[in-house]
Amino acid sequence: MKQITAVVKPFKLDDVKAALEVLGVQGLTVSEVQGFGRQRGHTEVYRGAEYTVDFVPKVRIDVVVSDDDVDKLVAAIVEAARTGKIGDGKVWVTPVEALVRVRTGERDGDAI
């Protein structure tokens, strides 16, 4: 099992969700996060005072999948989230040791 984590532009969330659903993903977790990469932040001016906003709002999507599905799902996320402009975000994959469905107690592959 692997966990795919994607940090993408907020307005791309719907596209990513749709792309994953088409490929049979049955559940995912999203959270609103802030951060910066090479894009850095931006500046805002209020009555002549300039503020640097370091952290840019992004959406983080976490989904746990079986090993076989990882490559095609990552490709689908990247495809759906890309605008070609700076600040599109990142996708990474981490191994998952165990998984339990709370309601039934099913484990690992059965719980995905």
Binding site: E44, V45, Y46, R47, G48, A49, E50, Y51
Partner: protein, 452 residues
């Protein structure tokens, strides 16, 4: 006169709305999340404190008569002769209430200069002393009754000098005495909710029609000059309403243009600020200029104030919400520009309030009117600046102004009021913040349950 009294009831309620909630919203949106409640409370509390002093001794000290007028020629009228409105007829109470709302908003305006850092108790003490020692005497002397007016009669239709220059200089002096917020020029202090500020600015504009258009005064000589009560009521109201509108529109555009040039973008905070700057500048002049004059005054107010608000960073003065940059600068512009674009064909000219034989420089007048306007500005700057400094220092070295440094970093809302403005989760409560019921209130809840 029935229509006039009905209008004065509406106008008085409109000016009340300018302080609570309009100014509270306008200022509250510009502060940070952790101090918005305190900012709004400063306006609310100022209204209550000033209002009580006004009926006890304020009317007696500043106006001292029974009716709308103000005719006592002393530096101040007797504060105790009409204590508690003794001797004011019930039919004239509405004039007292109308003036009360002006005194209250003037004090509330000052609070923007000292946001986020002042004890509520010190603010209450300051408010009561400041209206007594500064506002009532200046209102008496600029608005036709006092010693100063008999020397230098000048034009201030609705309080550009009495309200805005007065509050502006007082705010600047207090910000200097109290000192900057912790982290000023270092930490980000951007407005937390500009939608509140936009709503506040819009309500201020709406309420300002009560402020300006409600400030017309009738007497036997004015109604005679217009050719009857109705002619004056309709004519003067039309001009002041029109001038208030066009000046404000021009100031908004002026502010947006200036910040587009200086900083690259036209902002919503700029539009809200421009509206207020224009309203401030047209306040003294709405009865003394024609439509073109109002356009000139409004445009200049927007352009100049948009530039002026940036100056505090150069001087290191933490006038937090730009009371100086908007109210002092805008108020001075409005008062002084009457000396240029004021015309004796305007309502105040017809009323006979232009000092005899004078006119604006652009309408064939000499420098007399301009000189009187400048004297009015100077008188207010010296009186208000001087006494505010004495009062500010007296409070600083007795009860003290500031909450502790830690409390300020934590947020003045929690320190002074034990409240937080927003409960969207995280710091204020919600799923993650987790506020649990304390022992005292759960006991009360249990008792309620037993009764049910």
């Amino acid at each position: 006169m029935d229509g006039y009294f009905a209008w004065m009831i509406v106008a008085t309620a409109l000016v009340l709305m300018m302080t609570v909630p309009a100014l509270a919203l306008f200022y509250g949106g510009m502060t940070r999340t952790r101090s918005v409640l305190n900012m709004m409370m400063m306006s609310f509390v100022a209204f209550a404190v000033v209002g009580v002093t006004f009926v006890l001794w304020g009317w007696s000290e500043g106006w001292g008569g029974d009716g709308a007028g103000n005719s006592n020629g002393d530096l101040i009228a007797s504060p105790f002769k009409m204590w508690g409105l003794h001797g004011v007829s019930q039919g004239n109470y509405i004039f007292v209430l109308f003036q009360l709302t002006f005194a209250a908003i003037t004090v509330a305006l000052i609070s923007g200069a000292i946001a986020d850092r002042v004890k509520l108790s010190s603010w209450i003490v300051f408010a009561a002393f400041w209206v007594t020692l500064v506002y009532y005497p200046i209102a008496h002397n600029i608005w036709g009754g006092g010693w100063f007016y008999t020397k230098f009669p000048n034009l201030d239709y609705a309080g550009g000098t009495v309200v805005h220059i007065n509050a502006g200089i007082a705010g600047g002096v207090l910000a200097l005495i109290i000192g900057p917020r912790v982290g000023f020029k270092k930490d980000p202090m951007k407005p937390h909710n500009l939608t509140l500020t936009m709503i506040g600015a819009g309500l201020l504009w709406f309420g300002w029609y009560g402020f300006n258009v409600g400030s017309m005064v009738f007497s036997d000589s004015t109604t005679k000059a217009w050719g009857g009560f109705e002619a004056q009521f309709q004519g003067e109201m039309g001009v002041t309403f029109m001038n208030t509108s066009v000046a404000t529109m021009c100031a908004m555009l002026g502010w947006l243009a200036m910040e587009r040039v200086l900083h690259g973008k036209a902002t919503s905070l700029g539009a809200a600020s421009g509206v207020v700057a224009g309203l401030v500048a047209i306040t003294p002049s709405c009865g003394a200029v024609n439509t073109v004059g109002a356009i000139v005054i409004g445009s200049l107010a927007g352009l100049v104030c948009a530039w002026a608000v940036g100056l505090k960073y150069k001087f290191g003065l933490d006038d937090s919400l730009d009371v100086v940059g908007v109210h002092l600068v805008g108020g001075i512009l409005g008062a002084v520009l009457i000396g240029f674009v004021g015309t004796d064909k305007s309502p105040q000219g017809i009323d006979g309030f232009f000092p005899s034989g004078t006119n604006g420089l652009f309408y064939g007048g000499n420098a007399t009117l301009l000189g009187h306007q400048l004297m009015g500005v100077l008188f207010t700057l010296v009186w208000s600046g001087g006494i505010t400094a004495i009062l500010g220092l007296a409070i600083k070295y007795t009860i003290g102004w500031r909450i502790s440094r830690d409390a300020e970093i934590e947020g003045i809302d929690a320190d002074q009021h034990g409240e937080s403005a927003y409960d969207f989760g995280g710091h204020g409560g919600g799923v993650l913040g987790g506020s649990s019921v304390t022992a005292a209130s759960s006991a009360a809840a249990a008792k309620e349950g037993a009764l049910a």
